[in-house]
């Protein structure tokens, strides 16, 4: 609604590149972009499962394929993004979860620490299973 007496406000529209304006915004958008790399890694792992299901020959083929330089670079980048995702995720976990033990809130860093512990255990388990412990 506009009337003669309505003050003439000044509105600054947000730039499309607002996420470049502050470092913390950039870190935020990088965290969000990790979603693309997670999607890629899921595809990559599904291809692995398919290759394993199809027998030894195609498994070897998969291993050769994944050793291509371009793919290794892509996977290294993807790995860094997932790790970034994991770290930010575990650090923010205490914000959403407030756990009470004997009616006292458990301090946030303990919740984060237990998340990291679970991460270590899960990773160990994966390595043990894959490498044939």
């Amino acid at each position: 609604m506009y009337t003669n007496y309505h003050p003439r406000w000044h509105r600054k529209p947000m730039s499309t590149y607002w996420w470049l304006e502050r470092r913390s915004y950039l870190a935020f958008i990088l965290r969000e972009v990790s979603s693309v790399f997670i999607a890629w890694l899921v595809v990559f792992l599904m291809l692995l499962v398919r290759a394993v299901g199809r027998g030894d020959a195609s498994y070897q083929q998969f291993l050769d394929w994944s050793a291509r330089p371009l793919l290794v670079v892509l996977n290294i980048v993807s790995l860094s993004f997932v790790v970034f995702h994991a770290i930010t995720w575990f650090n923010l976990a205490p914000k959403a979860m407030v756990v009470y033990v004997r009616q006292r809130p458990v301090p946030g860093h303990l919740i984060a620490a237990s998340n990291y512990l679970a991460w270590a255990v899960a990773s160990g388990l994966v390595a043990w299973l894959v490498l044939g412990g």
Binding site: V42, L45, M46, V49, L79, V82, A86
Partner: protein
Amino acid sequence: MAKRTIEPLLWLLFSAGGVASAMLIPALALLFGVAFPLGWLSPPSHEHLLAVVLHPLTRLVLFFLFMLSMFHSAHRFRFTLYDGLQIKHLNEVVNLLCYGGAVVGSVLGAYLLWQIG
């Protein structure tokens, strides 16, 4: 009663996928994406890996990992498009692409894991 939106459920899938992918994908990506290709470690034999994958528990875990991670990724990517590129007016297209992709991916994943058995 407020009008039902699907948003809370999408957020739950996003969160569950955030946990699942953070817990399991780094180790898997490190092994298969980096360590084996670069020869840091020698890859396991096909026989061993097949045995691991054929175990029903592994398949169940992998299915949930794939499905939840894809929904996680879809949800986050959708908001990245909204906020980063300010294309919220393309709402329907973006939703279809993101969640549709996740649904198709999950079905594919389920099929893959089911047919190797």
